[in-house]
């Protein structure tokens, strides 16, 4: 436990030194703020940007606050995942490449605590980023569009975060054995796109898919309660996460 804490501290020190602690949350807050603002200004933007014929009337209703928050989740699903995966792709791969892993494992440090310390810090940082950003998005949505219960935002963000947790674990898993961090990012992103696509195309057979958690969170925002599958994807996601993490942690470093 004590060595684990030392590794954990080292991980945070590293993330402070390469500014991840600052820029990842800030980037997320930016994504979160932009969504309510663009929804609010959309009618004016369209009015000024398009070269419409004189007298054309466009009526775009300002979306409900729940819809805006659901769209924010959509932002995280594109830009957010891209940023997180690219930020953490080298989490183990690049350290192994530079010989850092060997230098650490020479000391009496278990391989599993080395991996889990890295995983925990990555998870905590992205959780902080997402909750901070979601709170910012909620604040702007309430200010510009309409009231929305904060408790629902917390619940929805927590459900959505489990999907992110799965993707981060996938990144750590690939990073634990692939040589190049570029490959890690490519595999993780490809797999996440595949899961997303298959889930939306074959909804009937993919009720267990981790991506369903995003839908659950989105319906919690738009409809006020969770519609569609929730328990099944939750269980599979937790099982897959534990499985991937334990696979990554037990793999003997053979390089």
């Amino acid at each position: 436990m004590k060595t684990w804490l030392v590794l954990f501290r080292k991980e945070w020190l590293e993330m402070i030194r390469n500014y991840k602690v600052i820029w990842i949350p800030l980037a997320f807050v930016l994504f979160g703020l932009l969504q309510p603002i663009t929804s609010y200004y959309m009618p004016e933007i369209l009015k000024n940007a398009g070269n419409l014929p004189n007298g054309a009337v466009i009526k775009i209703p300002i979306p409900l606050s729940g819809e805006v928050l659901a769209q924010t989740l959509g932002q995280y699903n594109q830009m957010g995942i891209l940023v997180l995966v690219l930020a953490f792709m080298g989490i183990i791969a690049s350290e192994r490449k530079s010989g850092m892993t060997k230098a650490i494992l020479v000391k009496p440090v278990g391989y599993s605590s080395y991996i889990t310390a890295k995983w925990t810090s990555a998870v905590l940082l992205s959780a902080g980023a997402i909750f901070l950003s979601m709170a910012a998005s909620w604040y702007y949505t309430v200010l510009l569009i309409g009231d929305f219960p904060f408790m629902n935002v917390v619940k929805g963000a927590s459900i959505f975060f489990i999907w992110i947790l799965f993707l981060i674990t996938l990144t750590v898993f690939f990073s634990s054995f692939l040589k190049s961090s570029g490959l890690v990012a490519a595999f993780t992103l490809l797999l996440s796109i595949l899961v997303t696509l298959l889930t939306s195309l074959l909804g009937k057979w993919m009720e267990w898919s981790p991506y369903q958690l995003t839908n659950a969170a989105a319906t919690l925002f738009t409809a006020g309660r969770i519609e569609g599958p929730f328990l099944l994807p939750l269980i599979t996601t937790v099982i897959l996460t534990v499985l991937l993490l334990s696979l990554a942690a037990t793999r003997k470093s053979n390089s």
């Binding site: 500014y19 932009l34 690219l86």
Partner: protein
């Protein structure tokens, strides 16, 4: 073009962008080697608003 902007709303966004740009530039000035020429990254950070600093942090820094 009578686009009315509420600056109180936009100010936090500008502030966040400014912080990102400043951190990226500070980091760039400290590191001696980046992927690609340094002056190119200065331009990218300054002119690509949000994506500039982020892409610098992701691909510009040499992982050490």
């Amino acid at each position: 073009m009578n686009f009315h902007i509420n600056w109180a709303l936009v100010a936090p966004i500008i502030a966040i962008q400014a912080i990102l740009v400043i951190i990226a530039l500070i980091d760039l000035s400290k590191t001696e080697k980046t992927n690609g020429p340094k002056w190119m990254w200065v331009l990218i950070i300054l002119f690509l608003e949000v994506l500039g600093p982020i892409s610098y942090f992701i691909i510009g820094r040499k992982q050490s």
